[in-house]
């Protein structure tokens, strides 16, 4: 059978590829309605179905016919009845699903039409701009500053998060002329945000400090850093960063694959998926810094249900163990990844923080003990080192946060007892002593501990029926003093421990 090959004006298509349904529907609408897309335009109101088709046709026209794009947009302005909601949703679909395949001219047009939608404050513009933020650079945000500030201030905080994160990477690469220009624009935008919209900037929450830390050596940020550290640090630490920010440095393709890996792939059948993910996203210069973003994303965005936790599906701690193994050669990245893993522990407050953000690190430390005590050791050592060095002026805050995190993972039944750390012969005595001091457990415990004392979140954990979609998080609901019944053991547990040995070997 011959492959029916259609060349698209919108996307690059390879020979043996299923026709993309979104592209097909836009192209067909454009072809069917072509006579109606040229002036003079009909004065009759289209019926609902034709309205949708006209929107599709205009999207295709705008992206594929740059010379006629202004005419197409005028047409859209004349017929719009839904605040541009459907038109904007089509653009979001294109950004999420087709962006990597778009021909270059269509990418340019996409930016142009997004600016048009910002000007008319279209319904859904925030989602469109944030989707684009996961794909493109800076120019849009400087150009449309005023409009965005009035209508979509949260988009600007997303842009600030994104560009601060990118700047840290860009400063690792020196002497690339094109990058120097981008860096200058990014700095201009970020400094403008801090100078003119500090209250908005602070809404990012505690991860703002993490981002700025990597830029404190940059002259333009030194003053901002000093000001934040001396005047705003305590309040920022108390503000949990919304999970929507952690999506910004993860492309939709990466997000899809990570969600699939942690929601569908069984531990033991994971190796090929692991290799494919590595080859596609993590090989190549400067890709290692993505590990930081992936760890924040896995901890703070992907919150599996109890059903998944109890199944043999790949647990988050195993993925993180593998990611840590991948950056062993680069100590700077390794430390940054570990900080990303433990960051929420430092300021943990059970009233506002989600136990699921600290669960992966806790379980990684626990499951590593039988065969990989050195992993548990290095993680605990790093964590205790943070207490002494991370922010000396606010050491009390950090001690309170860490203690609170440890107590909460025990109280919620993530682990059966902290004795797994405090009384484990596999861990160094000085480490146990430091931890005991931190937790104010001054007497040495002598309880014999084995792995059966460890339990994952149990069946009795009640999941909130209305997961807050904005926060993408599964909250665990229980009464303040209720101790979870850990009688339900995980049938996949021993299997997981054995497989972990294979899992963390990096596929370099």
């Amino acid at each position: 059978m011959e492959n029916h090959f259609v060349t698209s004006k919108l996307i690059r298509v390879s020979l043996h590829e299923v026709e993309n349904q979104l592209e097909l529907s836009l192209r067909q609408a454009f072809e069917n309605l072509q006579p109606k897309l040229r002036p003079p335009f009909s004065l009759e109101l289209p019926d609902p179905q034709e309205y949708l088709e006209l929107n599709k046709a205009i999207v295709y026209g705008v992206l594929c016919e740059p010379n006629s794009s202004k005419t197409h947009i005028k047409h859209l302005h004349a017929l719009v009845t839904d605040g541009y909601a459907f038109f904007t949703s089509l653009l979001i679909g294109i950004v999420v699903e087709l962006y990597v395949k778009l021909v270059d001219s269509a990418k340019i047009q996409l930016i142009w039409v997004t600016k048009e939608m910002i000007d008319v404050s279209s319904v859904g513009i925030e989602d469109l701009v944030v989707s684009l933020l996961r794909r493109i650079g800076i120019s849009l945000f400087l150009e449309k500053w005023e409009c965005l500030l009035d209508d979509s201030p949260l988009v600007l905080t997303s842009a600030l998060y994104s560009f601060l994160r990118l700047l840290a990477d860009h400063y690792r690469v020196l002497g690339v002329v094109k990058l120097e220009n981008v860096k200058r624009l990014e700095i201009k935008f970020c400094v403008k945000m801090f100078r003119e919209q500090l209250h908005l900037s602070l809404k990012i929450g505690r991860d703002l400090i993490l981002l700025l830390q990597d830029l404190s050596h940059v002259s333009e940020f030194r003053e901002i850093w000093n000001d934040l550290v001396s005047n705003h640090c305590s309040e920022i630490y108390q503000l949990k960063t919304s999970s929507r920010y952690f999506l910004l440095r993860i492309t939709p393709e990466m997000e899809t694959q990570l969600r699939f890996l942690l929601g569908n792939v069984k531990l033991g059948s994971h190796k090929r998926h692991q290799i494919w993910f590595l080859k596609k996203f993590l090989l190549g210069p400067e890709k290692e810094t993505l590990l930081i973003d992936i760890v924040r994303f896995v901890c703070c965005v992907i919150h599996p249900t109890n059903e998944i936790i109890r199944s043999e599906i790949m647990p988050r701690w195993a993925i993180i163990g593998w990611l840590l193994e991948l950056c062993r050669q680069n100590h700077h990245i390794e430390r940054s990844v570990m900080l990303a893993l433990f960051y929420d522990w430092l300021f943990f407050d059970e009233r506002i923080d989600n136990i699921m953000n600290v669960e992966p690190a806790a379980l990684l430390m626990v499951w590593s003990i039988p065969q990989y005590p050195h992993i548990t050791h290095s993680l605990l050592e790093f964590l205790l080192h943070l207490v002494e060095t991370y922010d000396i002026t606010r050491r009390d805050t950090i001690v309170r946060g860490l203690t609170s995190a440890f107590r909460e993972i025990e109280r919620k039944g993530v682990i059966r007892s902290l004795d797994i750390f405090l009384a484990n012969p596999a861990l160094a005595p000085d480490l146990k002593k430091k931890l005991a001091n931190l937790l104010s457990c001054h007497q040495e415990k002598t309880v014999h501990v084995n792995l059966n004392q460890v339990s994952v979140l149990s069946k009795q954990t009640v999941l909130s029926s209305e997961a807050n979609l904005k926060d993408c998080s599964t909250k665990i609901v229980d009464t303040p003093d209720q101790k979870l019944d850990n009688s339900v053991e995980n049938p996949a547990k021993n299997h997981k421990v054995e497989l972990f040995k294979e899992f963390i070997r990096p596929s370099r």
Partner: protein, 139 residues
């Protein structure tokens, strides 16, 4: 109707519609002036050896999800039981990564005999190997 790989039976006609993910691919060889290569494919139910022909060899990589229309599963000399598009079928990439799969049973590593009750049909008579002998599972 789209078949799971476990439900595919050898036959001499192009009537198999299925989808799978490519797990591994051997180096290309040449025959009759055209490239071909053997690959390992799988879905949630089974694995199978597939043959990529001509420009299909470069079009598909490990991790690609492939839709096969009007494919044929039959014996190919020197290669054993192979699933392929043949002249009347087509293979198209429809995505990447997002298929959970198993590597055993491998239906190319099964011995088939004519069904005594219906000689035009084949039934399984034994397992040659649980896994592919060309593409052993990852250690």
């Amino acid at each position: 109707m789209q078949l799971f790989l476990k439900d595919i039976v050898p036959a001499a006609q192009n009537n198999i519609d299925t989808r799978f993910i490519i797990l591994d691919k051997a180096k290309s060889s040449a025959a009759n002036g055209k490239n071909y290569c053997i690959a390992l494919a799988a879905d949630e139910t089974a694995a199978v050896h597939i043959q990529l022909w001509g420009d299909e060899c470069d079009a598909f990589e490990a991790g690609d999800i492939v839709k096969l229309t009007n494919g044929i599963f039959s014996y190919v000399r020197n290669s054993g039981l192979i699933l392929r598009a043949g002249k009347r079928g087509k293979m198209e990439k429809m995505g990447e990564f997002t298929v959970a799969f198993v590597e055993t049973p491998n239906i190319s590593e099964i011995q088939w005999i004519p069904d005594p009750e219906n000689p035009k049909r084949y039934i399984q008579s034994g397992v040659v190997s649980a896994y592919s002998r060309i593409f052993p599972p990852l250690p």
